[in-house]
């Protein structure tokens, strides 16, 4: 009974979250001031990337600091196909996801010989190798990057199909596309979490030798885990590229595309499907609002938001390393409902 009421509460929380997420931009839309839509868009995209990073970092337990490489591969693949071939961005997203997964598998297999810190450092190294390639490769226009021309599609359907929203509905359209992609990511990764794959990943995280001893090929499954992460980052990269109407190396290979999702994951709850979502909802508005509201005041300039992030990370690491979502929420919910937690054990629990 306790389990089913806990599940009911979780379902209620999910329904409330979905409604809130869907309703959030509507009152703002009337005001014509779309800044907070953009904050919402960045929350959603970082949440999505965090949910993806959780697969390699939270479940498989391998610290990957270079997933922004796959963000870039996704963005470039879709942009090139759009600019040169006129391929639909959604098909471009599929191509970008497949390209990122393939390249990730090839690059990551050798890295899985390394463990712990060495694996983490090697993922950074791959990112460092990607930067000069992105900046000098003429096929993708080097450091000048690619500009995505507007197609001028008509109507909601046309705009959605071409992943191009303009004018007053631009911020709103991208917000809902990001919302949908985050939902899709959560749904697919929930399936992975409860599948054989999800258990293999966590077995490798908890004890790699133990996992190998029962016949789990740890290198293969680390490659699969990172390729899933790469797929999510690639999809996010496509969305971001079309939102920005440009793809250039400094932008898509920015370190923030890994640090923000990772911080969101750690703050929300590493290894928990919804952890990154909660973390992104907390962290992303802080940086956005701080960097805009401080404006030209005495505290203005880059870095204040990073100081706040640092404090939050230190607090989480010291007080609750398993993240905010790991706090005993269900016990608190019961207490709030006026039913003492201990009474249930004796009673009809």
């Amino acid at each position: 009974m306790d389990g089913s009421s806990g599940r009911r509460r979780a379902r209620l929380a999910l329904a409330a979250g979905v409604l809130l997420g869907l309703a959030y931009p509507i009152p703002l839309q009337w005001s014509g001031y779309t800044y907070f839509h953009t904050v919402g868009f960045l929350v959603l995209i970082n949440a999505m990337l965090g949910v993806g990073w959780n697969v390699i970092g939270g479940w498989a337990g391998q610290f990957d600091f270079g997933p922004q490489v796959f963000f870039a591969i996704g963005a470039y693949t879709a942009a090139i196909l759009f600019v040169h071939v006129g391929l639909s961005p959604w098909l471009g997203m599929l191509a970008g996801v497949l390209a990122a997964m393939g390249i990730c598998a090839l690059v990551t297999y050798p890295l899985t010989r390394l463990r712990g810190h060495y694996f983490a450092i090697s993922t950074v190294a791959i990112w460092m190798i990607a930067q000069p390639i992105g900046a000098t490769w003429e096929f993708i226009n080097g450091s000048r990057g690619l500009f995505i021309p507007m197609q001028g599609a008509q109507g909601v359907l046309g705009a959605t199909a071409s992943l191009q929203f303009a004018g007053r509905t631009k911020a709103l359209g991208y917000y809902y596309v990001a919302f949908g992609l985050l939902g899709l990511t959560l749904w697919l990764l929930r399936l992975v979490e409860h599948s054989k794959l999800g258990f293999y990943f966590r077995a490798i995280r908890d004890d790699q030798e133990g996992a190998e001893g029962i016949g789990i090929d740890s290198r293969l499954y680390k490659v699969i885990a990172r390729s899933i992460t790469a797929a999510v980052f690639a999809a996010g990269g496509v969305l971001y590229g079309f939102w920005a109407l440009a793809v250039f190396p400094e932008q898509v290979l920015d370190l923030n595309w890994s640090t923000l999702p990772i911080m969101a994951t750690v703050v929300g709850g590493i290894g928990r499907l919804w952890g990154p979502v909660l973390g992104a909802v907390i962290l992303i508005p802080i940086s956005q609002i701080m960097s805009t509201t401080l404006g030209t005041g005495p505290l203005a300039g880059r870095g204040i938001d990073l100081i706040v992030y640092g404090v939050i990370i230190v607090l989480i690491a010291a007080l609750r390393p398993t993240g905010i979502l790991s706090l005993p929420w269900s016990r608190w919910a019961r207490r709030l409902a006026g039913r003492p937690a201990s009474g249930r054990l004796v009673g009809h629990g």
């Binding site: 030798e209 001893g213 029962i214 789990i216």
Partner: protein, 250 residues
């Protein structure tokens, strides 16, 4: 060190047959030197030796977690030296590693289910779970608890049960009694004896507790600094001067 003359044992039909296996760590530090041994179907064989003798290396070599430099390993007549560890699990080789190596943040039931993924279809999983829960009833009580919350003895039971979930034909146990309270050691060894009586599962047992190991096993090998220095029936070993002096303190 001179080996006492070993009784000739037929290796025909051996389930596991190792010949002249050498394992080196780093630049030429030999962990195993010319090790030859075998285990027949349905047999329990003990491996005795001091710390650092190479016992764990030997088990890992059989499991495919360590690559030998030379020598031959056959399982059920088939050379397995080139097979990866997961393929050996599929053939029926299972290792209960030293230190248990459980998936501490997964539940007991999840640990067990993971043990079946390599070999069994979902239909068999239920049946396998029932089997190990019958062998170690405490695991059924703890099924939804995280493995990291188990006591040492319960953890060892889970490690053995997890290995059994792959339906092995050959079970290797690396120091199953290490760091476990004596009452639970007895319970674990009894469960292994029951398992052997019921199913005739072949076992290869590494154990510091020499009297207990030789009581459970019918034969044994003594490993010293990477070499087999003595082999024989359990009774012979218990009577030998080497074992009495070095391992029984008599």
């Amino acid at each position: 060190m001179g080996a006492e003359p070993a009784p000739p044992v037929s290796r025909d039909g051996a389930l596991l047959d190792m010949r002249d296996v050498e394992v080196a760590y780093g630049a030429g530090v030999l962990a195993l030197q010319g090790v030859s041994l075998h285990v027949r179907p349905g047999e329990i064989v003990a491996l005795i030796g001091a710390n650092g003798a190479g016992k764990t290396t030997l088990l890992k070599t059989i499991a495919g977690l360590v690559a030998p430099r030379s020598g031959e390993i056959r399982f059920a007549g088939r050379p397995i030296g080139d097979l990866e560890a997961p393929d050996r699990v599929r053939l029926g080789v299972a290792l209960v590693p030293e230190g248990r190596r459980l998936f501490s943040r997964l539940t007991v039931a999840e640990n067990l289910t993971l043990g079946t993924f390599t070999n069994a279809e979902a239909a068999h999983r239920r049946e396998m779970l029932d089997r190990v829960y019958t062998l170690f009833p405490v695991l059924r009580e703890r099924a939804r608890q995280r493995a990291g919350t188990l006591s040492g003895g319960e953890g060892q039971m889970l490690a053995i049960a997890r290995a059994l979930m792959s339906r092995p034909r050959f079970l290797m146990l690396d120091e199953p009694s290490l760091g476990i309270m004596p009452r639970l050691v007895d319970a674990i060894l009894e469960a292994l004896a029951r398992l052997h009586r019921a199913e005739g599962l072949a076992m290869f047992l590494v154990e510091q507790n020499v009297p207990a190991a030789l009581e459970l096993a019918t034969r044994g090998y003594v490993l010293q600094t990477g070499r087999v220095v003595l082999e024989g029936t359990s009774r012979d070993l218990l009577g030998s001067e080497l074992v009495r002096k070095a391992y029984l303190g008599m």
